[in-house]
Amino acid sequence: MSHLIVLIPIALGLGFLGLCAFIWSLKTGQFDDLDGAAQRILDDEEAP
């Protein structure tokens, strides 16, 4: 029983962290252009 007291808050905390990460990424517009992000990685900034 005692280990549950430790584990459950950890599990919930990790889940909550994930939720916060999602909300943050949503607010910073990271879901605005999913296809573009996939392509931009191919673009070499230093290319002539």
């Binding site: 549950l4 889940g15 909550f16 605005d32 252009d33 573009g36 392509q39 191919l42």
Partner: protein
């Protein structure tokens, strides 16, 4: 009156730009304009566009979005910047169309979308964690652990349900306060009842809790609702952009001949007005002095020039092209042609709003049925057992089980998959209801110019001219902006030595000039034939070129059919659709195009009002799909049951159409129709599946056998079934056009041949 037609300076045609627009633009803060660039498809395109546009003076930032195929540009400067940016994008090798500016309404819509996504995230988090706790309870945890987990679940569920359920609760409250019942009422009831019941159970530590069912219900429903919301493309009101065509102020000619600026609203019939080249008629008016040319595209959809002379009457919105004219108003601003068109569009848009979506129609039957069933279960259990708690549990189970998870997902998922499929083929969809309406269409009306045909004219046959004559003809034709002249100029090579003098353009008749002392004419056949020593075969064409005392040539100018127009029509004909052409063009032209495409019914010389009337007449017993692009089609696009417009269409028409296709091929029309029918089939299948699920699950719920475990499994299973069924649409429908897939046109990297081993070593 101080002015008369003869003394008016013959100003050069200024084109479509409003030369007299004295509206000062505020060149203050940066502004944002978005362009649709359908052919953008890879990292190279993004880079090319962004760097190419950032180099343009006045552009602060350019950011391409590959998902929406749009590029957003932040700029400072004059009103003509968007036009210049558009030209730059074209010169970079991309087709582009300007996207209507954002409005408050769009902001509101976007905020709502964000909120839904947030609710979805919270519901997802909560349901995952509660499910984790529930599974251990179901697999037989000790009573003490079960109780702890129940309380924990409650702790997560209460804030999650109140936050994530807010879209449903507020909608249910709105419906109830209007004394109506919508789908959200049983949803809210089920979620809240199960929450309070489970809380009670968790507190006293007795029976089973339904926390997971409630939160999962919200999660599934929010998926459907979010998808549905994402579909709703900006529904820009077409009426607003049409109003932009009307100048806000006019130049009035007073009794004593003085010119003064006046407000449009002050114009009364009988008032005399001065129109400069580039001005649009502010009201319907009769010309009293001056000669010019006008573009009546607003009325007819044809970009041709018509002669303007005293006594001619023109509609509001017609563009004066060549020289200043004086007109006498015959209507005021409220009763003008353009005001009438706007009125028609408003009426059409409101009547379209009455269309009820399939899901809503289903909900109207479903919702009362669910309520009655739950109530009957409660009463039945009360009669049999006289135990309030177990009766309530059974009733809540009915509400949860019958909750339209599958229904709420079935339609939006299908529509999203269909919209993606259409997007791949270059067709943009306004909302899900448009797809449903498209599937119902059985009659198709086409506009001619710009829809079935290209806007530009071209020479059917090129008469053989010797080099010097060809050079002269080019030089003469190149002096005019008339589409026919431009088509002729484009067909003959440019040369240096053509020495033309005394050039005159007679609007609606032709061009005249002197060359080596003899008169040259290019224009209407009978007019050119007036020159000495010229005769033509009237069968050979309607436009002629001749030199006094020399030879004459005639041309046959046609506008080209769009690629695949005939095959698209043939395909639609095979599909059993009735088709007709509604055109504002002359009878002979329409007849010609009708014969070429194989459309049997056609109507020529139609005003926008007559087009709408034709659609209304047909609409009494048939569902009309209107395909059109011109300004004159805007009301008919709005009035038709469903409408399609090419991306090259006027923005008014684009805004009032339900679908916009961005590729030139007309095969988009049969493709969209087929896909809409496939989507409709799948939606109906999904309804059938959901119904079958209810047939099995509802008796269980009424009998009181639904435990939280059964509810969780049943809900997820039915949702998975309908979603996977919808996914089948992703491969349905075939290809819209012969255009190779984007990935196929993407430049392939040619691997560098490795140097011979000997050199490298």
């Amino acid at each position: 009156m101080t002015c008369c037609g003869a003394s008016l300076p013959d100003l050069p045609a200024t084109g479509t730009g409003d030369a007299a627009e004295i509206d000062d633009t505020i060149n203050g803060g940066p502004r944002i304009t978005a362009f649709m660039v359908p052919s953008m498809h890879c990292a190279g395109c993004i880079r090319k566009l962004e760097t190419g546009l950032s180099g343009l003076s006045g552009v602060e930032r350019a950011r391409a979005n590959l998902s929406t195929r749009q590029i957003e540009i932040i700029w400072r400067g004059n009103e003509d910047m968007p036009e210049r940016i558009g030209k730059r994008i074209s010169s970079l090798g991309f087709d582009n169309h300007i996207v209507e500016a954002d409005t408050d309404q769009d902001d509101e819509l976007r905020r709502k979308g964000r909120h839904l996504l947030l609710c979805l995230a919270v519901a997802g988090f909560a349901s995952a964690n509660i499910m984790l706790l529930s599974i251990s309870v179901w697999s037989g945890a000790e009573a003490e652990t079960a109780r702890l987990f129940g309380l924990l679940s409650g702790l997560i569920a209460v804030p999650a349900i109140f936050f994530a359920g807010s879209p449903f609760f507020s909608s249910a409250i709105t419906a109830l306060s209007a004394r109506q019942v919508n789908m959200d009422v049983p949803i809210s009831l089920a979620v809240l009842l199960s929450l309070f019941m489970s809380l009670y159970e968790a507190m006293i530590g007795g029976g089973e809790t339904f926390f997971d069912a409630g939160v999962m219900l919200l999660f599934f429903l929010l998926i459907g609702r979010t998808l549905d919301h994402l579909m709703r493309e900006k529904a820009v009101s077409g009426v607003r952009s049409l109003a932009r065509l009307i100048p806000r102020s006019v130049t009035r000619i007073d009794e004593d001949g003085a010119l003064c600026r006046a407000d449009l609203a002050s114009v009364e019939p009988g008032m005399k007005l001065r129109l400069l080249p580039g001005d649009r008629f502010p009201v319907d008016a009769r010309v009293i002095r001056g000669a010019s040319a006008a573009d009546r595209a607003v009325v007819t959809g044809e970009a041709g020039h018509v002669p303007v002379g005293p006594g001619d009457k023109f509609e509001a919105g017609v563009l004066n092209l060549k020289s200043a004219i004086d007109v006498e108003a015959v209507s005021d601003a409220q009763t003008s042609f353009l005001a009438e068109v706007m009125e028609m569009m408003k009426a059409a848009e409101t009547s379209k709003g009455h269309y009820r979506r399939l899901a809503d129609r289903m909900a109207a039957i479903y919702t009362p049925a669910v309520h009655i069933l739950a109530l009957a279960t409660f009463i039945g259990w009360m009669v049999i057992t006289a135990d309030v708690k177990s009766s309530l549990v059974a009733a809540v189970a009915v509400l949860i089980i019958t909750c339209p998870c599958a229904l709420g997902l079935a339609v939006p998922v299908t529509h999203v998959v269909a919209a993606n499929r259409l997007f791949q083929e270059g067709i943009l969809m306004r909302d899900g209801s448009a797809l449903e309406r498209l599937a119902e269409a059985d009659t198709i009306f086409f506009d001619k110019t710009g829809t079935l045909t290209d806007d530009e004219l071209c020479l059917d046959e090129k008469p053989a001219l010797d080099d010097s004559m060809a050079a002269v003809l080019h030089a003469l034709a190149a002096k005019s902006r008339h589409p026919a002249a431009q088509a002729i100029a484009a067909s003959y090579p440019e040369a240096e030595k053509a020495g033309l003098t005394g050039f005159v353009e007679h609007p609606g008749i032709g061009l005249e000039a002197c060359w080596n002392g003899s008169r040259l004419r290019l224009g209407r056949l009978d007019w050119v034939a007036e020159l000495d020593g010229l005769s033509f075969d009237p069968e050979a064409g309607s436009t002629a070129f001749g030199i006094e005392g020399g030879r004459g040539f005639s041309f046959h100018l046609t506008s080209d059919l769009k690629p695949d127009a005939a095959s698209a029509v043939a395909r639609l004909g095979a599909g059993g659709f009735q088709m007709a052409i509604l055109s504002g063009d002359s009878e002979s032209n329409v007849k010609h195009i009708a014969a070429e495409t194989g459309i049997e019914q056609w109507h020529a010389n139609l005003t926008p009002r007559q087009k709408v009337e034709k659609i209304r007449d047909a609409g009494s017993n048939r569902r009309v799909l209107m395909v059109g692009d011109g300004l004159n089609d805007a009301p008919s696009l709005a009035a038709a049951h469903v409408s399609l417009a090419p991306a090259s269409a006027m923005d008014v028409s684009r805004a009032s159409a339900d679908f916009v296709f961005t590729r030139p091929s007309l095969l988009a029309v049969p493709f969209a129709l087929n896909l809409s029918k496939a989507a409709n089939r799948i939606v109906r299948q999904n309804f059938a599946l959901a119904l079958a699920y209810n047939c099995i699950a509802v008796p269980l719920a009424v009998a009181g056998h639904v435990t939280p475990l059964v509810a969780a499994i049943a809900m997820s299973a039915s949702s998975i079934v309908v979603v996977s069924n919808s996914m089948r649409l992703a491969v349905a429908g075939g290809r819209a056009s012969a255009v190779p897939k984007l990935s196929e046109t993407a430049p392939t990297l040619t691997p560098m041949t490795p140097p011979p081993a000997g050199i490298a070593a």
